[in-house]
Homo-oligomer: 395 residues x 2
């Protein structure tokens, strides 16, 4: 066994840039947009490159619901996210380790990011007890068995899962929360982040810290600065999209980004709508994840260039057109609204897959457009036109 | 409007072989197996060729559950079956007609067969009232609305659905049934078959008659002879696999086949297990359909070369092997038993698709093997070895 104490000391005396010299992980900033804080970049991992800004489809239980790895590849997904909390409970991280981690288990050979389980412990588990040591909780699955997750455990689990990017264990607070509560949770999260960094042994993985601080700009700033002082491979903004208004969310992003390094990736967790993605790319975010495209698809609600299509609506009963005539996805190239509506009404499983293909294509294609416009230096105009169009949407 | 009465008279004075000279439909007998009644054939339809003996995946509601048309093409399915009763109720055959029939509606460009709705009216509908005219029933779907299906209506609906092969409307009796009841239903089915033939207007479709007669060999024979005298494009054997023993089912097939023409296809409806398929190819059957591979797949029960795999079984928890090491399907080439078990336990939709791919591959591959062995003149030996192996299966 390595001496974690010794390792920690060494790390503290090592320049940040040299922290993970033996990992493949790197971030290259390719271009800054001239009129916004938007930026084009590239993340290199041992499972391949990721062009940023990027949207990461969510594969909670080691599968992006309804999608095969081949479907995701055809959609152009460059990285997916999976949930540590769910996989810890079922099938268990030790089982997944035996399969060479998530990549081997689910047969997805491109990059993966796992969250730390923090968000789910605080949103799904029962009878939570938080101490400085970690969190004790009953799972929502296995008949209320008791589990403990410490920062060290969260790293150990994520090392077993073997994602390319792993996340520090954080305390997620509800909204609204008092400043005192937000600060207490933030302090604990910072301590946990340091423990995560010290506990991490697998040098093939990148570790991101998570900025918390509720809806308090000065706490967000302090959180970001403290994490950067500790040194991580990238920085996430957590605890947003929890019920606050859009302007407040954007304000928190703005309060955070200036304290984050230019030469490392920034990840806004659990966000969001197409508008959110464009607004936050504008504010300097590189990475996003959200269940919205996949979950909405399974409810029969589709994103289009002209607004939402709720496919069960009677107006689509005999509609021979595709979900979106401007869309190039395989669902739009092959199936009518009438057929999709029939599949949803009949409870057919194929409906969920065809809808998911469409919504993920919409999100991934939006990010391709975003990157192309940053490349061309036209992201500011793109954003203006995109948001203006969406304000006039019919739905 | 055409004069149906006149048409019927014309048909009665036309040699059977010239009945559908303007349809593309034809059956070519390529080879008879030397040691069994098995035969290799080819059916030509306006949507392509079908090599027989063939297994037809069931796509009840205009979709083979969990499969896209592309999946089916990759599996090598040459024809699928869809259910008139379900489509009549939802989304309605007139809607499907607007899309150019089922081919356009579901975007499947290969051959389709529709059943007549008879079986479902008798197995699913409530408050059935049968008269010589037709059947009045309440649907299982639309809050008990009352519907009437006559032989003429069954043909009209199937013409709207536009399948390549359509079926005469028949009365399906329960098992067991008295000889008197079986004979009464048979007589009505024969009258209905003649009315179906007279009602049929679309010459792009082939019409098959359905042999009934319960478990009474002499009724089966009489049914077959009467249908052949009327003249159809092919002949189905209905009312089997309804609870009778295997030997009794095979006996009914044996009682029927000798009365059917050598130069037309023979279709055993709703059958069956892999053993049934091999046993009934041996007895001269060319076409099969059954929900077993698709339904079992969705229950997590897989067909393999060494017996059934019930994937939720704890013994597969950490099993890195494919469902069947001898299988070449994309599921077995890409995913472990442990991963599939996890997907089933987690209630993930992808599980249903991956399982369906495997089971359909098993059935379609079995039929490829059957055809290859008839081609080689070795079907008798193949059958013996196949059945002997399956008798020793571990499950």
């Amino acid at each position: 066994m390595r001496n974690v104490q010794q390792e920690e000391i060494n790390i503290l005396h090592t320049p940040i840039s040299a922290l993970h010299t033996d990992t493949v992980f790197s971030f290259s900033l390719i271009k800054n947009d001239p009129s916004t804080a938007g930026r084009l970049g590239k993340i290199l991992t041992s499972h391949g490159e990721i062009s940023t800004p990027v949207f990461m489809p969510v594969g909670t239980q080691a599968t992006v619901k309804t999608m095969s790895p081949q479907d995701l590849t055809e959609l152009g997904a460059e990285i997916i996210l999976s949930n540590t909390y769910h996989l810890f409970l079922r099938p268990g991280h030790e089982l997944i380790r035996e399969f060479g981690g998530l990549h081997g288990f689910m047969n997805w050979q491109r990059p993966i990011l796992t969250d730390s389980g923090g968000f789910q412990v605080f949103s799904l588990a029962d009878l939570r007890k938080i101490t400085d040591e970690g969190v004790t909780f009953q799972s929502h699955l296995d008949g209320g068995a008791k589990h403990v997750i410490t920062p060290e455990a969260a790293i150990g689990i994520q090392e077993a899962l073997g994602a390319d990017i792993i996340m520090a264990f954080d305390e997620c607070i509800p909204y609204p929360a008092t400043r005192d509560y937000a600060q207490e949770a933030l302090d604990r999260t910072l301590q946990w982040a340091e423990r995560c960094r010290a506990a991490k042994q697998d040098r093939g993985q990148a570790l991101f810290g998570i900025v918390q601080g509720g809806m308090y700009p000065e706490l967000r700033k302090r959180s970001a600065e403290a994490l950067v002082a500790t040194g991580f491979d990238g920085y996430a903004i957590g605890g947003l999209s929890v019920g606050e208004t859009k302007p407040l969310m954007y304000e928190m992003v703005e309060a955070t980004v200036p304290s984050l390094p230019e030469d490392q990736p920034r990840y806004l967790m659990g966000v969001g709508t197409p508008e959110d993605l464009v607004e936050c790319v504008d504010r300097g975010i590189d990475m996003f994840d959200c269940v919205m495209p996949t979950r909405n698809a399974r409810n029969g609600t589709f994103f289009t260039s002209f607004g939402r299509v709720v496919i069960r609506n009677a107006r689509y009963e005999r509609d021979p057109g595709p979900i979106d005539p401007e869309c190039g996805c395989s669902t739009c190239r092959n199936f009518s609204r009438a057929y999709l509506r029939h599949l949803f009404n009949a409870g057919e499983v194929l409906a969920l897959r065809l809808g998911t293909v469409h919504n993920l294509y919409f999100y991934l294609n939006l990010m391709r457009e975003v990157r192309r416009n940053i490349e061309l230096g036209t992201f500011g105009e793109f954003k203006k036109a995109f948001l203006a169009k969406r304000e006039t949407l019919i739905d």
